[in-house]
Symmetry: C3
């Protein structure tokens, strides 16, 4: 059986929003006590959905600092800069780190590891409203 | 219900092929007017399947230029160069950007965002025939 | 129908474990002779699940050498170094290359391409026990 829900995430500009509790709660509601899979899809090309360490916020700070090397803002090689120096950097970081995740569900609960959190990684410097599609297969 | 179709993509060497219209059409045919998920899998280790901005071709040009930094052709650290200087670069770019995608379907239509396109990114410099497996779950 | 199995992988420190035969065998057992999808999920934030070239071990050596550039050990920009110089590098490499894969199954067999292998890529320098969740949808 397929059940679906939209999630709206308001970002505050570049940085991470922890979605773990919210996705856990929606999955519990949609999956009942069934086994299955949850698919989370972000309908944008300038922010990522990732799984990473959930305990130490320094991990996210370090990822942000690494991303400046992977795809710097305002790099002289960019031809696409319609919306400013963070525009192309945001597209490239999204391609590198992905915009969708599939996660196992057991008896209605996400089977994440102890240290795994689900994060939306906003790559634009200004706040954005992001729309996610959560699909539960059980 | 599971329905499946093979897609053959002829590439012209390094660069992007926009598969969005073709995948939309196949999904509509396979999913009818159902909700579900589409899974697209590329059976190769030298080209990627990505979602990125669909409007400005400069975005793809900039990704290509960034990829030269992420995994340069003919880098002196490579031990694997059986098929030329683009061989290992192609494998590495594929690992970084991925070879499979899962996408939500609603009433037979792919739920992509306005600016999202589906692209096969060929990393070899010569043309190749690439085989994709599209699976629709509804 | 959903069937599931846990896989435990013992790593020997940084490097690759080829899981292809093991996943093929588990999929054959769980899927019977059905069509479907297999989902493989790694419950950790310091190792990746990737598909890459399965024939020449030099490809994996080259990936390891490239990863040193993508996310070096002990980089001065890291604030997170609780567990040593490979700690943050491991988280970053996992975010770049991913911790889950979805693969097509046809008549109980994984539809991998000829040169595609499934690898767990351990990013920590010391051995770890890694838990994977394999889910078969058919």
């Amino acid at each position: 059986m397929i059940r679906r829900e939209r999630l709206i995430v308001e970002t505050r500009g570049r940085g991470f929003r922890d979605l773990t509790a919210r996705v856990r709660e929606a999955v519990a509601r949609l999956a009942g006590d069934c086994d299955g899979l949850a698919h989370l899809f972000c309908r944008h090309t300038s922010c990522s959905l990732i799984i990473t360490e959930n305990a130490d916020p320094d991990v996210r700070g370090d990822l942000e600092r690494l991303a400046r090397r992977w795809a710097p803002d305002g790099d002289p090689i960019y031809a696409h800069e319609l919306e400013g120096p963070d525009d192309m950097a945001a597209h490239a970081r999204t391609v590198l780190t992905g915009c969708e995740l599939t996660l196992p569900i057991e008896k209605g609960r996400l089977l994440l590891g102890t240290w795994q959190g689900i994060f939306l990684w906003e790559h634009r410097t200004t706040p954005h409203e992001r729309e996610l599609v959560l699909t539960v297969y059980s």
